[in-house]
Amino acid sequence: MTINRNNGSQQHWQLEVDAQGLAWATLNKAGESTNSLSSAVMEELSQLLDHLDRSPPKGLIFRSGKAAGFIAGADIQEFTQLDTPEKGIELVSRGWQLFNRLAGVSYPTLALVRGHCLGGGLELALACRYLLAVDEPSTRMGLPEVMLGIVPGWGGMLRLPERIGPQAALDMMLTGKTIDASKARRLGLADDCVPPRVMDSAAALLVLANQPRRRPPLLQRLLNGPLKALVASGARKQVARRARREHYPAPYAIIDIWARHQGNALAAPELIDSIVRSPTARNLVRVFFLQERLKSFGKASTFEAKRVHVVGAGVMGGDIAAWCAQRGLTVTLQDQGMERIAPALQRAYAAWSRRVRDARELRKIMDRLIPDPEGHGARQADVVIEAIFEDTAAKQALLQQLEARIRPDAVLATNTSSLRIEDLRTVLARPERLIGIHFFNPVARMPLVEVVAADGADPEMLQRGTAFVRQIDRLPLPVKSAPGFLVNAVLGPYMLEAMRAVDEGLAPATVDEAMLAFGMPMGPIELVDMVGLDVAMAAGRSLAGAEPPKCLLERFNAGDLGKKTGRGFYEYGSGRTVKGAAGSVPAGLAERLVKPLLERTQQLVSDGIVVDADLADAGVIFGTGFAPFTGGPLNYLRRQHG
């Protein structure tokens, strides 16, 4: 192989030409662990293409020099500097021109995609003639720009629909979801999907063969041509069901740019302008960085759990155990007898068999989830989580037994949501070792986990608990012990206020509609039904201490405890929720309902329950789904008053 560095000034790209005359361009962004398309990287790519124009190779293959993946996308840090529409247009223009140039080169090109290939990374790959996907679980392709409130303006809106048809392409662009290597091949996004052992030879063969690309089926070509308007109107309706235009302009812009402007955002400067001007994109980028901050917690610790012991096979305990097993840990799940554990195993099997297509992988997960009625697993566990019913005496007795059996260096945690850790730990020989690791329901869908420190808690144990939460790919939020911690503490007064509104005569559906319009993923009344009216009663007593709302008390006394009993504020039939029609929402209702939440969040920051306002925003967004486009409750509050 002859190595032919085109230019000594290249920091990020390395170009080699092999004996067959194929050029291999390897991106290895300097000073980073993942590749992203910063302006410097793009500038170097442009120079690289200049160089190849002068002496065209037989073919050009793009690959990554990073173990982490191909290219994660644009450099999101650069988005934070988009304060004027001109800057937005300039950013779009840079990638649009460069990738158009790449798409037009005379020699065949291929992107060898191994690991993540997202956003601008996929747009680069789409500008290549061929895309070869490496068949590994970590290989994921997608255009998640919409999740940051922006659009895939570097050719994604043009080339993805061309390649896989507009329906699949819009689905990817409007939801931001990613697909794996084999699905990429099925959709026609990838020309082939190969194991890593043959990826280099497959890449070379594909480029040298230089066959015409497979065209999408006729129907897809029609949908991407004469029938565009039809697809667009269907897509707009679908988006409208999930996101309102005034909150989330980007998905609407994606549809318009694809349908009316041939995927060229530059042809619709007014749309770019509206996106850059709306606070949504800025707030969503802010949320992205908040998430990165949560992800950075626990990095300092080298702790790595191998075995987890969960006591309590109810919904929470069972789901925590199932989640840990799926994340590769060996889990022992304890409860009083196999009959109590079996439903949790069945739930785990049902949940993972839907999501894990490979039968062997599914079997591995289920093999790691070990029923343990006698609690033998505690002895060898690295992390022990108590998730039994909320009763101080029962939990104390259990924690005491556990402490006597577990390793001295094991993390001992409670998943309590309403009891005081200070009370639970009094029975322990080493009370400082008990921490809270508080998951939210449903575990598989709620990314946030509160890591709770009572006064004098062992910092090492908190570190380990935080590292464990990261290990299982959840977002750890450090909080101080206080009733309801952060998330439940802010939800309590919000749900209470919503129920007061119902007491005043508003239909539950009307109250919920007000908050859905505000941008919440679920109305507060439906949330009460999900949480359970009994839990709401108990929490109300311990958190608020106030008289329970009449509407809650009546239903509670009638035994209507919410979704779990089939009836609460709403009716829950076979998979369907009967809510009744919402009436017209009185002006200012949303502001009134959200106010107690905002105030409580502010209060908790002042009290030091959570370290700063940013973390409070992160916690409330990832723990409750609080309208992400607002950037979080305190960010929203600042803007209201700002």
């Binding site: 060996t330 022992t332 196999m338 009959e339 554990i341 079996a342 439903p343 195993l345 069945q346 739930r347 099997y349 068999s353 079997r363 591995k364 289920m366 093999d367 790691r368 070990i370 029923p371 343990d372 006698e374 033998h376 697993g377 002895r379 060898q380």
Partner: protein
């Protein structure tokens, strides 16, 4: 050099689940994994700290031929764990234990997970030879016309007469007798009546029910299937088993004229049983509290048509080596392949002629009391997942001895093809063992 005792640290088995004319809820490796992981989580060592895994299996399915390795990996024993599958028909599980013993005795291993498994309800139906030829020719038919012609030649009789894998497995390939027919041979030879067999079988059920009620089956760990159903007990055991009921069943192996029925035979069953075997050094290293130790083992061969007498041929040399009589053994487990076969073993020991001519003894060895034999029922009630039974009887014998506060037992099993296996077991405590060694 004498037989260096090997310790049985712990053991567990699945419930034995009766085949009901359809594949059961668990594949063989699923059963071995569920019992194995429940056993391993209660040990002070990690699965990776075993030295090897040995699993007996008479009919591993085509996709897990070395089922021991499949199970070892699924149990989290790690990529470095050597694991091998052994096959000695009905004694495959006992062979696994014996192989573990041998490797511990010669110092290759210190800590071994050994056991047996079979999921007979998953035994395959196989294409007959005519169909196999048809498929072979079909593969070579290149043109559509030739393919159509091939289909025209397909006869429903070829397609609808599969070879039943389990019947093949239960037929002696050398002499062509079904296992049940070898039991008929014993009934004929020792004049064992249908009535005696049925009475014996009812007692097996009654004893199994009593053992369950009294909580003497602690070796069973419940298993959970994909639907969340818990299987906690041997489901072939019948509390309502009666002479009248068994009397209604027709002879199965020698139809019309025979005496052996499904009711006085062991059941076709799915199940797995494991033991953890350890050297003295491993017992000390991990401070284990063994259930007991295995102090001798023996294999023997005999006429395949009399295979049911295998236990007699394997256990007698052990008794002779240790100068023990039948009565010196506190409890016996002789796997109940067939009632006629267990009763045949007792009759052989009571027979002057048999003991002289076949065992080279001066005369009859004596009578083995039913009070010492299969006290908690055996395969007629519990079931006989072929590869697992040898491990089950060793494990249960230890439990039964401990429950009875007795010390010495023999577990013996007959083996299709004309063999027998036996093991001498003691529940002696470790401190006692140490004193003896000094």
């Amino acid at each position: 050099m004498g037989f260096q005792p090997v310790y049985v640290v712990d053991g567990a088995r699945t419930p034995f689940l009766k085949g009901r004319n359809a594949p059961g809820p668990f594949a063989a490796s699923d059963l071995a994994v569920q019992a194995g992981r429940a056993l391993l989580i209660r040990q002070p060592f990690a699965p990776t700290q075993l030295d090897e895994v040995i699993l007996g299996c008479a009919s591993p399915s085509a996709d897990e031929v070395n089922i021991a390795r499949v199970v070892a990996l699924r149990l989290g024993c790690g990529n470095q764990m050597p694991a091998w599958t052994v096959m000695r028909n009905c004694a495959s599980g006992m062979q696994a234990i014996d192989s573990a013993i041998a490797n511990i005795q010669n110092g290759r291993s210190q800590l071994v997970l050994a056991g047996g498994v079979d999921a007979l309800s998953h035994a395959p139906l196989l294409y007959n030879e005519a169909m196999v030829r048809w498929f072979g020719q079909m593969m070579q038919a290149r043109t559509m016309a030739k393919k159509v012609a091939m289909f025209a030649r397909l006869r429903p009789s070829q397609l609808l007469s599969p070879v039943i894998g389990i019947l093949k497995g239960l037929t002696d390939p050398v002499i062509g007798l079904l296992m049940g027919q070898t039991a008929e041979n014993l009934a004929w030879r020792f004049a064992i009546s249908r009535q005696q067999m049925d009475e014996y079988s009812v007692r097996s059920h009654q004893r199994a029910v009593a053992a369950r009620t009294a909580g003497r089956l602690g070796e069973i760990v419940p298993v959970v299937d994909a639907r969340g159903k818990v299987h906690a007990e041997d489901d072939g055991v019948r509390a309502d088993s009666s002479l009248a009921g068994l009397g209604k069943l027709k002879p199965f192996f020698d139809r019309k004229y025979g005496r052996v029925t499904p009711g006085n035979s062991s059941q076709i069953t799915d199940g797995a049983a494991w033991l953890i075997l350890a050297s003295e050094a491993a017992v000390d290293q991990w401070q284990l509290a063994p259930l007991g130790r295995i102090t001798d083992s023996q294999w023997a061969g005999l006429d395949p048509a009399q295979m049911g007498l295998g236990p007699v041929h394997a256990a007698t040399p052990i008794l002779q080596r240790h100068r023990l009589s039948l009565d010196d053994i506190d409890l016996w487990e002789i796997n109940e392949a067939f009632a006629a076969q267990v009763l045949g073993c007792l009759a052989a020991w009571e027979s002057d002629e048999y003991c002289r001519e076949q065992l080279g003894l001066p005369g009859a060895l004596g009578a083995l009391s039913h009070d010492r034999l299969n006290v908690d029922g055996s395969a007629i009630a519990v079931g006989h997942p072929v590869g697992a039974s040898g491990a089950r009887i060793v494990l249960h014998l230890l439990q039964a001895l401990r429950a009875a506060k007795a010390t010495r037992g023999i577990a013996a099993i007959c083996i299709g093809g004309g063999q027998g296996g036996a093991m001498l077991i003691e529940t002696i405590s470790r401190e006692q063992a140490k004193r003896e060694n000094q």
